[in-house]
Symmetry: C3
Subunit: 205 residues, 3 copies
């Protein structure tokens, strides 16, 4: 179980860090700016989660090599990504998919950690949403200087909410089998998010 | 005493949540955006307070049904408030009064909690100001995209400061009688805030 | 050692608080806005550090007279600095020097505190950067409404990073002699920052 959660965590960190790096290079940031955005995107949600549920040391202090991993990734990006790369359709698609993946992974993970910490189920869902959404929102605020989240969310938080809800429901029906709720929750948020981007779905009310 | 503080807390949460919902609907946000703004406005100040004085579980985790209350309120608002409602004078007045009420209630409450946690009196006053002001500032930043607080505060923080100061002073003069400092503190902040809006008073230096 | 760290802390607080006060007066803020900006600049980095490494009470609660010191400074500034003072070259230079000094002092201090708390060396460097940089970034966000940090950082974070790295390295070579790593770290960050402002050096990749 612990190994499974850690794998999900590392995948989510990589997915989010890469979206942060791409966005930062797009905005012509230097290596330090790029590293900062990657760190905020990858660790923002989990750090806020850990502070809210009083879980210390923070997950990136406990797994103390996470920040060095992101540094390696940011340094690597200098050689791979030019500053102000022109954004072709496939790059934007990869960006969207990685962001959706990170959203799904972190929402399920955040909900799981919150439940383990004894948080009430509805609030655990909220913690899942915060974990999944906060890093990406901070990335967008820093890189676009407009908090789009609150305007045209394209179901961003909604996908995270549904994914977290799926986890809470299934974890009750399949106690002792963490794979089923985790996989279902991640898939639900990921697929919904991809569909909502593809068809530009927005809430009407 | 505990029942009294909890009543004040619930009243403050409702007052602030409603201001958040009205502002969000005014900005044509969907239900998830509206719920997010309501949550940030109602819980922002108290959450920052609890993190600063290391009080866990956070007040909205301890009273685990608070977030569901706000959800019910936000869902209800869809039927009552149209998106982009035209703002008549009475609506703006109600908005101002509720915000002033929340400011007074949360300032007194934050100061009281900080003193109980053994915080030095002047810093307890500051914690009171942070509790009273932070949620509303975050709401305005998200909804207006301009942190007006630092420009034309119209005594916003000042009213909170005076209310918190009144609490600290009176709690020394009337030990064992929490009603007097609480009621005086809330009234002071509320009345000063209403007067400062009505006559558009601003600090000159 | 403790007295030394406290001296550095107070110097850093004064340096940052004064930059916050000058910027706030420049933006025509009133006394409450000025005090708020001074507090955020002086205490922002250290508060975030203490929350991240779970060090309670927060440093400005433990040294409970810090906030009153800043209040006295802000009140004093009303008599000394007119609102919207015209900014001569020497004032801008003093502002830059004080900010560079605060950056150096807080970076070394943050790294030192993080190491004492048992944080892994690379993450202690990051905590040093957060401590040194966060207050100034918040001041600039509030006063300029543009987070310049991520655009033209002029090595802002880089100077803090190098200063913190110097501390971590030297503290291993000179155990039991805190003066050498502290002084070297502060000097490195300060001198690099002053040079980077003077010659407008920016990272090219």
């Amino acid at each position: 179980m612990d190994a499974l959660l850690k794998t999900i965590e590392i995948l989510g960190i990589f997915a989010f860090a890469i979206t942060g790096i791409i966005e930062a290079r797009r905005k012509q940031m230097d290596i330090i700016g790029t590293y900062s955005v990657a760190m905020v995107t990858a660790f923002g949600g989990g750090t806020l989660r850990d502070v809210l549920i009083n879980h210390y040391p923070l997950f990136w202090m406990q797994n103390y090599n996470y920040p060095i991993m992101i540094l390696a990734l940011a340094v690597l990006s200098i050689f791979v990504l030019r500053k102000s790369i022109s954004f072709s359709k496939p790059v934007l698609m990869i960006l969207g998919l990685l962001d959706a993946l990170g959203l799904g992974l972190f929402s399920a993970l955040g909900t799981s950690y919150a439940l383990s910490a004894g948080v009430y189920w509805f609030n655990a869902v909220l913690i899942g949403v915060i974990t999944g959404v906060f890093g990406g929102v901070m990335r967008d605020v820093i890189c676009n200087e407009v908090p789009v989240f609150f305007r045209q969310s394209q179901l961003y938080a909604t996908c995270s909410f549904i994914g977290s809800l799926v986890f809470v429901l299934l974890v009750n029906f399949f106690p002792g089998e963490p794979l089923i709720p985790l996989f279902s929750s991640i898939s639900a948020a990921f697929v919904l998010r991809v569909i909502s981007i593809k068809y530009n779905i927005q809430l009407k009310f």
